[in-house]
Symmetry: C2
Subunit: 314 residues, 2 copies
């Protein structure tokens, strides 16, 4: 599996941003370790999702590329697929809920994607996407449960180890498990002794439960502010990978998440979305004791004005 991440890294060269790694004396003193923050909020479209989308789409056959791709997402994955389509001159169709924020709709359309809206109250986006996919012969790019997507997401950690040297511990957010499993495979590939920990909101702790019981749990529509982790469960592919490569899973409270967004903003001057700070939240709330050199994936920075204003005034 590690080789697929190295290959993905080659494929992304010159297309994805090599995102900076930030450090902070204040943070190091606070937690008593050297902390390396991998800033995927500075990635194209503002989140790591670009990596998986680019890796999977660029690997398609010429025929598949000509036919076009389809994705369903209301968030960062939609924009990632749309942007990659624009870069590689591939037609993209994105299935989005009709209540998606206007800015996200506009951004997705701005990349030249055809946006198909659905009513999340009455329609299933999976069924709708499948129907369009079959009718038009499109290739579906799933948001996480796909080996090429996972390999792409893993390249952020590969880069981080290149930039910061081998790390003793890695903390990464967990939604559907694409970033977490890719990161874990990459980290273990470079340093087998690296402890990899996935972090979830308490309100969306399906992966934690699945990990601890080794049985797939689901949590429907969790009310967490970390919208990127509102996925129902780990996937058929990501669940066994998480079991195999991840050392532990922990949860953080909504207050921990809010505090970590504030810390990123006021102390680090970084705009990080709630889902993006989960690793940092685990550290700041002392739910995880860091090892000497600990890396954290700050997975994205796409946050709307309302949510940030609410967090800053909390």
């Amino acid at each position: 599996m590690f080789k697929t991440i190295i290959n993905a890294g080659q494929r992304l060269k010159g297309h994805a941003n090599i995102t900076p790694v930030m450090t902070s004396g204040t943070l190091n003193n606070l937690v008593g370790a050297e902390i390396y923050l991998k800033c995927e909020n500075f990635q194209k479209i503002g989140a790591f999702k670009f990596r998986g989308a680019f890796n999977s789409i660029s690997k398609l056959s010429d025929k598949e590329k000509l036919q076009g791709v389809i994705a369903y997402s209301s968030g960062n994955h939609a924009q990632a697929v749309a942007l990659v389509g624009k870069m590689l001159d591939i037609h993209t169709t994105i299935v989005m809920p009709n209540n998606a924020p206007a800015t996200k709709l506009a951004a997705t359309k701005g990349y030249g994607a055809t946006v198909i809206k659905y009513d999340p109250e009455t329609e299933s986006r999976e069924d709708l996407a499948l129907k369009i996919q079959e009718e038009q012969g499109l290739t579906l790019i799933p948001p996480f449960d796909h080996l090429d997507v996972i390999a792409g997401q893993g390249t952020a950690t590969l880069e981080l180890f290149d930039q910061a040297g081998p790390l003793d511990m890695l903390l990464t957010p967990c939604g559907g498990g694409g970033l977490l499993s890719g990161s874990a495979i990459a980290a273990k590939g470079v340093n087998l002794d690296c402890t990899v920990i996935g972090v979830e909101p308490e309100l969306a702790d399906d992966a934690c439960k699945s990990f601890k019981t080794k049985t797939l749990h689901t949590v429907k529509n969790p009310a967490t502010i970390a919208d990127g982790t509102r996925t129902t469960s780990l996937g058929k592919i990501t669940f066994p990978l998480v079991l195999e490569y991840v050392n532990d899973m922990v949860t953080v409270s909504e207050e921990d998440i809010i505090h970590a967004v504030q810390f990123s903003f006021f102390r680090m001057k970084l705009v990080v979305e709630p889902s993006g700070v989960l690793g940092l939240a685990a550290l700041l709330s002392k739910r995880v004791v860091p090892k000497e050199k600990t890396g954290i994936i700050l997975s994205g920075g796409n946050i709307d004005a309302e949510t940030m204003a609410m967090i800053l005034n909390s």
Copy 2:
């Protein structure tokens, strides 16, 4: 003068952060040039002021260091002097208005400074500082009108040229002119053909008027959101330096400033304070046409929750 900046750069080595330079394809496409953003919001205390404070304080004699230093400021300069005092084990006294934000008071005290409060309605901070300075034999570290402070501020541009290569144009905010004159001397020292432009809020356009008329103008308590530029006028030292080294001065509106803070936040994922975005605001508002390779000093990122929430909701 250029030599003093090179010397300051040597003095700051290992003490100041080497701040990253960010680029953005979106921004480059928008303005039709290569833009290099020097992120002094990632400097220690969140602003370039650390550079001037460190350079001037570290140059003091042993006797002066033993006696201690004093500064008056309600903003970034106060924290910079306090932090340098802590780092170099020098006692610091900071004169601050009694209505300064609690967070700034706490941060300054947190660095071990003795904070003396005054009533800005009835007392002059300059007179008070002078009185304490004389009574206690302290050395005053002025916020901008001092050659060692100016040389320190210039090191940000020196670093930027090191990182991005020689630039054709440099845009920098202007308050009291310490950053602007230091930046201009540094830029011309590396590339005599570099066009250096200072940017002010329209509401605080004293330096613009002074520059165009070659006579010192003052603007008292301007109501601009860019609080770092609310200084009354250029200084005795900075005014002639600005006249000699700066090519032009332009102003931007409050709306331009707000838009540039939003752009930094949403598109760049950077927290930049209103005074810090002035150069970017001049570019985005098309008040300045950039040259092929244009640098911008994002001078700081210290913004309170209320102001940012207001800007995000604008």
